[in-house]
Symmetry: none
Subunit: 250 residues, 2 copies
């Protein structure tokens, strides 16, 4: 899905930012960087900020105009922080990512471009009007301008999130593969009985007036969905309590 | 909703990154920056990269340890790129934002902290285990480490997106309004110390060979996000154990 997405930077002034953009792209699995008349490229600052994404920099395409950069693209988004005089269809980055993945599925592969403007004044109206959609990162009014590498990071992140969606629907419990199978219901019940009898022995639980102890303990432990080792640990702990009490009582 | 969210940076090395973080925060409406023993602060590089977010920098809190930074927090997220030996519940930034807004609605206001580690090697296992949940930005394996300002940008963006949308539909948590405020981080730590000392007394925990007991117990209890009454109950239970052992030993 992410095969054919170009990140296009127009007239970037600070070379370090180009490196920051390359790093953000590579972090999120994007590879195709197009530079429209950057002030300076290649540069040491760009390589330093790229922090290992040098392959993106060396594969970058240099062109003279935005028209050249997007000529073969089917879907072109301009990023913009400002409200324009003539309103343009605006999406947030999540909607943009959804459109990209839909179009990609529906219409086969083909280039998508996402265009980022100058650090100080963004894209001109003419440039904005070359693009089908405007994407706006919902920043705070009064301090709305993101660093360009930070903006690319957010956009690339949303594209990646969209590409992972199908996978994440089948994802297990806590977003990571767990090390141990979850405990079975019966194991939990035995553990709670063990808790109860032990707490009666320590005097914490008065069988005549149990109040809400077991209910709250259940709610706490069950909502964590304990695994088998965790249940064994808790039961080991309870056994050690009983033994200590027993042996000292002899 | 975003009133009380702390961004905590641990041992940041490059001053410019602190400025980049401040800018990203301000863009997204966050204001509370906590610096744990940064290499250098304040600095010209930080102010330059802040690009106008100087107010965030001058209001930043400096502390010596992560414990201090998160002591009063009810909900602590650690950002992490690495898979750990013992898996910890992992959320992506979107799930994190949904949890933050849900918990905030349900349990009244109180500080939330999101912790970011060192540029070169992230957070230590000890630091990670102080945090209830781990948040992982789904970067590409093999090039997974984001610039710290870029990572803050993504996290802050998701919090802002959640604040602008009704995320209650995706809210994973407990599907009901809660009865008791969640425990603060410091209360949890005191409880874990109490567990540890008690289990040494019962002989369950060998201080010379603790194995993974405390890590697994932490993981179990923290992923349930315990509330204040639950913590009190567990501590009452521990106190009753100590008393019983003490009295029978006399």
């Amino acid at each position: 899905m992410q095969a054919d997405i170009k990140i296009v930077l127009v007239n970037t002034t600070h070379s370090g930012n180009i490196g920051g953009v390359a790093r953000a792209m590579k972090n999120m699995g994007l590879a195709d960087l197009v530079l429209v008349a950057p002030k300076s490229f290649p540069s040491d600052e760009a390589s330093a900020r790229a922090a290992g994404a040098d392959d993106i920099l060396s594969a970058a395409t240099l062109v003279d105009s935005l028209q050249q950069a997007i000529a073969g693209c089917r879907l072109v988004f301009a990023t913009s922080a400002r409200e324009r005089h003539i309103p343009w269809p605006i999406m947030d980055p999540r909607e943009m990512a959804a459109v990209i993945s839909t179009v990609d599925k529906d219409a086969g592969s083909g280039a998508v471009a996402i265009v980022f403007g100058r650090e100080d004044r963004g894209l001109t109206n003419e440039e904005l009007h070359l693009c089908q959609h405007h994407v706006c990162i919902p920043s705070v009014s009064g301090f709305s301008s993101l660093n360009i590498a930070a903006a690319v990071q957010v956009i690339a992140y949303e594209i990646r999130m969209a590409s992972l969606t199908d996978v994440s629907a089948q994802a297990p419990q806590w977003g990571t593969s767990w090390d141990v199978p979850l405990a079975e219901q019966q194991e939990l019940e035995l553990m709670f009985e063990h808790f109860e009898s032990t707490m009666v022995k320590t005097g914490f639980l008065d069988p005549e007036n149990p109040r809400q102890f077991m209910t709250r303990l259940r709610r706490l432990i069950m909502r964590a969905l304990p695994d088998k080792i965790e249940v064994n640990i808790l039961r080991g702990m309870l056994t050690s309590i009983t033994k200590t009490i027993g042996s000292t009582k002899k």
